[in-house]
Each structure stands twice: as structure tokens, then as C-alpha cells.
Symmetry: C2
Subunit: 224 residues, 2 copies
């Protein structure tokens, strides 16, 4: 039987394997899930026995096809709930993550499909992440660039934020950053890699840490 805990493990293994592309180390997982290494070793065995991951002692874990499908289902539920809570109930993008984190484990296939229909089968969630479809396929999203790699003088459109920390989201909102916001790079300080940007009619200085969470696409005629 798949439990809430197991769903959380699978989701996290999926997220980590997207970044690293290979096997996920048990200590990285432990860190992300805020549990001990011992808890990971134990759960790795169980997930292996259920055919959801491959696991060899001292070698980390990797999702099987079955495990990946399951992980994508959970991510689908999470992202659809986030979208729905904003759309239907007017929650802000800083509020939806925590709620979706709980609701995602208690949502039938039937209900999630109804939510998907209500939203008209959206491709992306409120943070710009693609929403896995019913069949597990992940919609293609435009190639994007990290704000830390943006070039002076260019205009960009914000298409993704890769952290769901509430404080970060609230901060971005406070400086008028949202999905599809236009942003122009004025300068970069090589001292700390902070950048000065224009959003609307105001200038803001963003730290490298903040910029690293934001992804953009280059606008046409931005060099005019």
C-alpha cells in the first residue's frame, strides 16, 4: 500500500533525479525530507521491495518506471491543486504550495481530473512548472535561462520560479515579480553577482541567491 510518507519519498526522489540525472544518494534525500539517514535506508528497502525504486546498499536509489509514473501522479496532483487554489479561490502564489502539499495526498483520480477539466488542462502551474498529464506525459515548456545568466541591457519575461519558499514568494510579489512579468537587466556587480533590474517603473537590486531561483526568456527587440 502506498502511504503519505511513501508518496513524499517518491516525489522527492523524482525532483532530485531531475537535477542530478543519476542515482539519488540517501543522505541528500534525508536532508530534503528532514529525516535521519536511517529512516531513508529503511524506506529504500521497502520501496525497492514494492518495485518503485532500485536500491543497492551504499549505492543510492533510482525510480523504476512504475515509481516514476507514481511520482508524476503526485506531482500532477500538487501542481493542479496549486493552480486551482489560485484560480478558483484566489489564493496567492505564496500561499498555494503549503496547502497543495497536504491536499495532494488525499485526492482521487476522479477528483483531480475534474480539477484539470475546470482549469481547462493547464500546461503550467503558478510557478511555471509543467503539469504532468493524465497519461504521465510532461508538456514541453519553452527553453528558459536563469536570471543569473541574463545579460546587461536585455529585456526578459519571467517564466519560472524554482523555489516555493513562502518568504521568497512574498518578497517577489512585493517587488511586482510574477509569472510573465517583464524585467530588464541594468547592471551586475561582479563583487557579489547581485543585479540591478527594472520592473515596471522601478529599479530593484536582486541578490544572486534570489536571481538564481528565477528563470526567464529573452524578449524580441530587447536591444532597441
Amino acid at each position: 500500500m502506498i502511504t503519505i510518507s511513501k508518496e513524499d519519498y517518491l516525489k522527492e526522489i523524482y525532483n532530485l533525479s531531475c537535477e542530478s540525472r543519476a542515482k539519488v544518494s540517501t543522505s541528500t534525500l534525508a536532508e530534503k525530507l528532514s529525516v535521519s539517514n536511517a529512516a531513508i535506508s529503511e524506506m529504500a528497502k521497502k520501496l525497492h521491495n514494492s518495485g518503485l525504486v532500485t536500491y543497492e546498499k551504499y549505492k543510492g536509489v533510482k525510480l523504476t518506471g512504475k515509481g516514476k509514473r507514481q511520482a508524476l501522479k503526485i506531482i500532477r496532483r500538487h501542481r493542479l491543486w496549486e493552480s486551482f487554489l489560485m484560480d478558483a479561490l484566489g489564493l496567492s502564489w505564496s500561499e498555494v504550495h503549503a496547502e497543495a502539499e497536504k491536499l495532494e495526498h488525499q485526492t482521487s483520480d476522479f477528483l483531480i481530473d475534474r480539477i484539470d477539466e475546470y482549469l481547462n488542462h493547464p500546461k503550467c502551474d503558478p510557478h511555471g512548472h509543467p503539469i504532468p498529464q493524465r497519461d504521465g506525459k510532461i508538456p514541453a515548456v519553452p527553453q528558459s535561462l536563469n536570471l543569473t545568466a541574463a545579460e546587461k541591457g536585455n529585456c526578459y519575461t519571467i517564466v519560472k520560479v524554482v523555489d516555493e519558499n513562502k518568504e521568497l514568494m512574498d518578497y517577489l510579489t512585493s517587488i511586482s515579480i510574477g509569472l510573465n512579468t517583464e524585467i530588464k537587466l541594468i547592471e551586475r556587480l561582479s563583487f557579489d553577482n547581485s543585479i540591478l533590474v527594472v520592473i515596471g517603473n522601478s529599479n530593484y537590486r536582486l541578490s544572486e541567491q534570489v536571481a538564481s531561483k528565477v528563470f526567464v526568456t529573452l524578449n524580441r527587440n530587447s536591444n532597441e
Copy 2:
């Protein structure tokens, strides 16, 4: 800490004490929650130690003020979710119970208040049960009569169904019974207490078991 299990116990104790008005016996609770009597004895002690119920060995349990407030919060979440799933997502009244049963345990005060606002602070859920308010108060609902006590020749309006069994709900829907449906009693067979009723332009015979789940109010000028 209050867990999903404890929430289910409190909710069930509340429901049973509404019917019986007094202490709830452990075996009745065990029956309703589909667990062993032993599980109830154990949990009764825990709930007593948390100040949520009073419990004396062999004497059953009773909600304290604190326990009742907690129970009403859970029932509020359940009924608001049911209303919301019908209203916002178009689920049928036979579908909402099972979904709400899961979502009710994963809903923050913040989210439930947003749902309440969306629905414009409804007084009743889709089955005609009053929805406890934010402050724990229960809206007054019109005095109603069980269909088994309805009188021949009278016209009634359906205001409540006190069972959320999916099969029953689907059956009622199939014979056009919903909340606010008008219904006229044609005759009652004393042999089995079944009744013959008119709904819309059709006649239906309802068993005593079905009628006992349905509550109505008498319509004015129904004797014309």
C-alpha cells in the same frame, strides 16, 4: 497532537451523541468506525488525557467543551468541502461525501475560510445538514419531519437526507429526489410501511428504510 484518527473519533462521537444525547458506548463507536473494541478503549484514554472527552472505564465517552469545538471544526470542514465540490466542480451529491471525508483532514483554517467566503457562508451542505460557523455556532434549520411520519394527501418539500451512502444518493437522484424537491404522499401500506409518492409527474414506491432517511417540511395549501 491531533491526528487523522483522532479527528475521525471526535467526529463520530459527536454524531452519535447528537442521536443519543448522552454518553457514547465504546462498542457503538467501534461499530461505526469499523475498528475493534480494544482500539476504542485505548483511544478513549488518549482523548481523555488530552482533555477532549471524559472517559470512565465501562462508562463510555462524552465530548468535553474542547472536544466538541474540535468536532465541530471537522464537521465544518467536511460540509464546506461537500458544498464546494458541488458548487465549484459540479460533483454530484453522491460523489462529494467520499472526497470530503479525505480532504477534511488536510485543510487549514485559512483555506476553509476562503472556501466559506467563496460559497457566501452557506447555512447547509448538499444533504441539508447545517454547517457549523467559524465560531462553532450551528445555524438554525427549519424543523423537519421524517418521511415515515408524513400524512396521506399532503405535499412536502425535501430538506434533508441523513445518510451519505453513495448507492442511496444515486437511487434518490434516479427518481428525481434532491434537496427542495416537492413530494406528495399518496398512500402508505401498513404491511411494510412503504409509501407511494408523486415526484414531478411520476409515482414511486419508497421502502420504509429509504423513507426513514429523508426529512421534509409540510407545504402550505397542500390540502387543497
